[in-house]
């Protein structure tokens, strides 16, 4: 059960440009397992919103169902939240966005919520380039129902019970790039330094931003043999170089070290490498990104960082030619065509 954090805050906590302390961006205490990767992502969201000087009431946070989808309670208590139904967050977010284009939409989802039950909604939100940030807290398993494989579990990954996954895992980033996502990033929940700027970039981007964050399930998928197990990697990731975020008015740029690969030895001898983006690939060229992802997969590496970015992104409202005023603010004056129009209409039907 959720409980409320103590209201006390140090009176001299630093405030950001919009006058709020970081504490103001927090939520209630998490009820997820101790050490869950998702909590680190929640913390990164708090940090990113604080540093980005986002006004919490200008954010709508949405989710589906699952461990990941519980997290909106754990950050941004002063934002409106919507915990919808399983796999259906993208449609609710799309509708909310259509109603009010002036808010920031932050959707969080899990690998089951996105890649299985919600696959249809996910891919179509991507296609429409809905102006939102979509964070997948990806742990390769169904935590709330005790650890079944999800559709992002890698082929050959071993579950806690020793079962080896015989199905192909879905690569959400490659899929999103193919379908027209305009900001696609991949990260690790333990790499706060990389994740925070990626979230800031996503929140600042106009269009659909996907951040696929590998976020270990400490209870059900942190065993040897699992390709989503990173107890060990946490420490290695500390050593990985920092990713810088430059607020969007200019351009989103990510500086990355060349080919920094962090190898992880798995119990069964397989190896997963965390790999920062190398400068030889062009994050604005789909073909180069997709081929890099495929190469990485061959080598059992996982690429992290900003993978793809389209600076010519046209978000859904631009495609629909919607008026600049948020639709929910339009009044009778703009919306009711009037009696004269109605009488003309009647006449045309006689």
């Amino acid at each position: 059960m959720s409980y409320i954090k103590p209201k006390f805050a140090h009176p001299r906590l630093p405030k950001n440009e919009v006058g709020y302390t970081k504490k103001y961006y927090e939520g209630v205490i998490s009820t997820l397992c101790a050490g869950c990767g998702h909590d680190s992502i929640s913390a990164a969201i708090v940090e990113a919103c604080f540093e980005l000087n986002v006004e919490p009431h200008r954010v709508a946070k949405l989710s589906g169902i699952g461990c990941s989808s519980k997290t909106p309670a754990y950050y941004l208590s002063n934002s409106h939240g919507f915990n919808s139904v399983h796999g259906r967050m993208p449609s609710v977010a799309t509708g909310a966005n259509l109603a009010n284009r002036s808010l920031i939409y932050l959707g969080v989802s899990g690998d089951g919520d996105t890649a299985s039950i919600g696959m249809g909604q996910f891919v179509h939100a991507v296609r429409r380039n809905v102006n939102m940030t979509y964070i997948v807290m990806n742990n390769g398993c169904y935590g709330l129902t005790k650890g079944q494989d999800s559709a992002t579990a890698d082929y050959g990954s071993v579950s806690k019970s020793g079962h080896v996954n015989t199905y192909e895992g879905i690569d959400l980033c490659a899929l999103a790039i193919q379908l027209g996502a305009t900001y696609v990033a991949q990260s690790f929940s333990g790499d706060k330094q990389q994740l925070i700027p990626l979230i800031k970039g996503a929140l600042s981007h106009s269009g659909f931003s996907l951040i696929n964050v590998v976020s270990p399930c400490v209870t059900f998928n942190n065993n040897p043999g699992s390709t989503k197990s990173y107890d060990y990697v946490r420490e290695h990731n500390e050593a990985v170089s920092k990713v810088d975020f430059v607020p969007v008015k200019e351009e989103i740029t990510v500086s990355y070290d060349h080919s920094v690969v962090t190898p992880i030895e798995m119990h069964d001898g397989t190896q997963i490498n965390f790999h920062k983006l190398s400068p030889v690939w062009d994050p604005e060229n789909k073909i180069s990104v997709l081929s890099a992802l495929m190469f990485a997969k061959e080598k059992h590496e996982m690429l992290t960082g900003l993978l793809y970015f389209d600076k010519n992104s046209k978000e859904l409202h631009e495609l629909l030619h919607t008026t600049d005023t948020p639709l929910h603010q339009l009044s009778e004056k703009e919306l009711i065509p009037g009696l004269e129009v109605l009488e003309k209409f009647n006449e045309s039907m006689r």
């Binding site: 939240g81 259906r88 449609s91 509708g95 909310a96 409202h317 030619h321 039907m349």
Partner: protein, 601 residues
């Protein structure tokens, strides 16, 4: 004996040959002559090639229900000659394209055959192959004009309106028309014993289908976000909305759209978007049919429990499953009344004319926002896709949106406390806030999981019960604002009542008139909404027996009445019609007579 303005003409065509506009032209011409007319399209789930029919009932008395028995069949489809000939009333007429000879075995002694070489006439008069095909339809309209005394200038006017800007097309159409009427005049006795005569019975009425009417209602009701998934027979509702919004909702300064329409990937997404938009303060709706309702169940439960306004139109068709996609039924009642798992209930509206589609659709947004719950308008294929003669649309000049209990930034500023699900006034309806309203107040967490009055997650039993009991109270409040039943004149005492709703109204009224003429008075009540008001029970209690007339097999309205009002089942006599065609007075009478004249004890 001649009959004026009282007959049924049925057209048998091939789908996709342009017959629909010619047939509509015929119906519209009679309407323009001031005579009530009702047109029913009976079409296949097919784009081209299968048989399709169009029935036009002309009724001086203004009966707009479908009528059994065809006086004149116009057949240009040899595929269906056999059944088309069989359905003509004895003494009736069968007009057909005699370019090809009719099989001897099809001939009937008891009907008249009117053989007109439609194709040959067109082949001789036109050169373009497409014109030869299309004008065949106009030729038979010309023949009908002579046979049924339809005034040619009326049709000419309709051409002039239809081809405004394309005036070149008027002349060949008039030529085709005269080919048909001249042929009749040269070869047959005319007019037939039944024919049309000018009247002033349609006054200021209009002719329109219910989907277009509902679409315009949505424009006037302030809908700005529409999300949908194509499904017959609801598709034309959204395409009409797009047409009207494009005409009436463009910002005059910027030229941008004061609306957004998204064709979703499926019905789940369609309703999800509508819910998201309503949650965020816009008026949004989606439209679907039975199969879509099944898919939307999950989200309907969320909107019910999280108390999010939503307008949904169900243009019902024949179920179950894919069922009869192009036939009509009222068979989604139970699934809509209690859609989704758990203890749910939804507000339903039952329009019976396009005018009511317009009004109820516009008002549905008020009801949804005032009650903070889904409102489902239960149309059907007959109402939605057929053209009906109906009262002109009107709206209060000072119409304002009744948005219910929505807190502004100022309201929030002036309040000490606020809980999203707190019942402050005892009507079961809490106050809501729209995201982005106030910098520091009014945010809350919307969820489909159990919650307390402050929208916090809770698994506490007492809290859960308090919230669901309070939601139930909203449905008592709903009864005060949704439309009340409508009664027929009840001057003669009677032991019999009848209940009907939606498109069953027309045939029910006609059946009651026929029964009254025979001395059996039945008092009628039309239900316009659900949950039922107290007066529904009062009406039922007044009679020994009450017929419940509906267009489904399982007598769903009857079940709903028994369940909701605890009516003794033997009191409610089911009168059902479920073959996919619109209900007729004949169908009702045969069932009512059976009950009335067979002693029950």
């Amino acid at each position: 004996m001649s009959r004026v303005n009282d007959f049924v003409v049925k057209f048998a065509n091939v789908n996709g040959t342009g017959s629909a506009s010619a047939n509509f032209l015929f119906a519209k011409a009679i309407f323009r002559m001031g005579v009530p007319v009702s047109a029913k399209n009976i079409f296949p789930s097919n784009i081209q090639g299968l048989p399709t029919w169009y029935e036009v009932r002309v009724s001086e008395k203004g009966y707009l229900g479908r009528k059994e028995g065809i006086d004149l069949m116009v057949s240009v489809n040899p595929q269906s000659f056999k059944e088309d000939i069989a359905c003509v009333k004895p003494g009736g007429y069968f007009l057909y394209d005699s370019t090809k000879k009719l099989h001897e075995e099809f001939l009937r002694e008891d009907i008249h055959f009117i053989d007109i070489p439609l194709m040959e006439l067109c082949n001789n008069a036109f050169t373009d192959p497409r014109q030869k095909q299309l004008f065949k339809n106009i030729v038979y309209v010309g023949a009908l004009a002579a046979l049924l005394q339809i005034e040619i200038p009326v049709i000419e006017n309709l051409f002039a309106e239809q081809f405004k800007g394309k005036e070149k097309l008027i002349e060949p159409n008039m030529l085709a028309l005269s080919l048909g009427s001249n042929y009749v005049k040269a070869h047959f006795d005319y007019p037939l014993p039944f024919y049309a005569e000018k009247r002033n019975l349609t006054k200021d009425k209009i002719m329109i289908d219910g989907n277009a009417a509902a679409a315009l209602g949505a424009v006037y009701g302030g809908a700005t976000v529409v999300s949908w998934y194509p499904i017959t027979p609801s598709t034309s509702l959204v395409s009409s909305f797009e047409k009207y919004a494009t005409r009436m909702r463009i910002d005059p300064v910027t030229g941008k759209n004061n609306f957004a329409i998204v064709q979703a990937e499926d019905e789940l997404a369609a309703i999800g978007m509508a819910i998201g938009a309503n949650w965020n303060g816009a008026r949004a709706f989606t439209a679907t049919s039975g199969a879509g309702i099944s898919l939307m169940n999950e989200f309907l439960g969320l909107a019910f429990y999280a108390e999010i306004p939503l307008v949904l139109v169900d243009v019902q068709r024949g179920g179950p499953s894919t069922g009869m996609p192009t036939r009509t039924q009222q068979s989604d009642l139970l699934t809509c009344a209690y859609a989704s798992h758990g203890d749910t209930k939804h507000v339903l509206l039952f329009p019976s004319t396009p005018t009511e589609c317009f009004d109820m659709m516009a008002d549905a947004f008020d009801y949804a926002e005032m009650l903070q719950t889904p409102v489902i308008m239960m149309s059907d294929l007959d109402l939605g896709m057929n053209d009906h003669v109906t009262d002109p649309f009107s709206r209060d000049e000072k119409q304002t949106f009744r948005r219910g209990k929505v807190l502004t930034a100022e309201d929030l500023e002036n309040r000490k406390t606020w809980g999203r699900y707190l019942d402050e006034e005892g009507d079961g309806i809490p106050y809501r806030t729209i995201p982005g309203t106030h910098p520091t107040k009014g945010s809350y967490f919307t969820r489909g999981s159990s919650h307390d009055e402050f929208a916090r997650y809770s698994e506490d039993s007492d809290t859960y019960k308090r919230v669901v009991d309070r939601i139930a109270k909203k449905f008592e409040t709903a009864k005060k604002i949704i439309p009340s039943p409508q009664y027929t004149e009840q001057n003669h005492p009677s032991n019999f009542g009848c209940i009907y709703f939606g498109t069953s109204e027309h045939a029910s009224m006609e059946a009651m008139d026929i029964l009254a003429a025979d001395g059996l008075y039945v008092h009628g009540m039309r239900i316009k909404s659900f949950p039922f008001q107290e007066e529904v029970a009062t009406f039922i209690n007044r009679y020994d027996k009450v017929f419940v007339i509906e267009q489904n097999k399982m007598a769903q309205m009857r079940s709903l009445l028994i369940n909701e009002l605890e009516i003794s089942p033997e009191k409610l006599i089911p009168v059902t019609h479920y073959d996919g065609t619109p209900v007729t007075a004949e169908s009702i009478l045969s069932q009512v007579n059976h009950h009335v004249f067979v002693p029950s004890n």
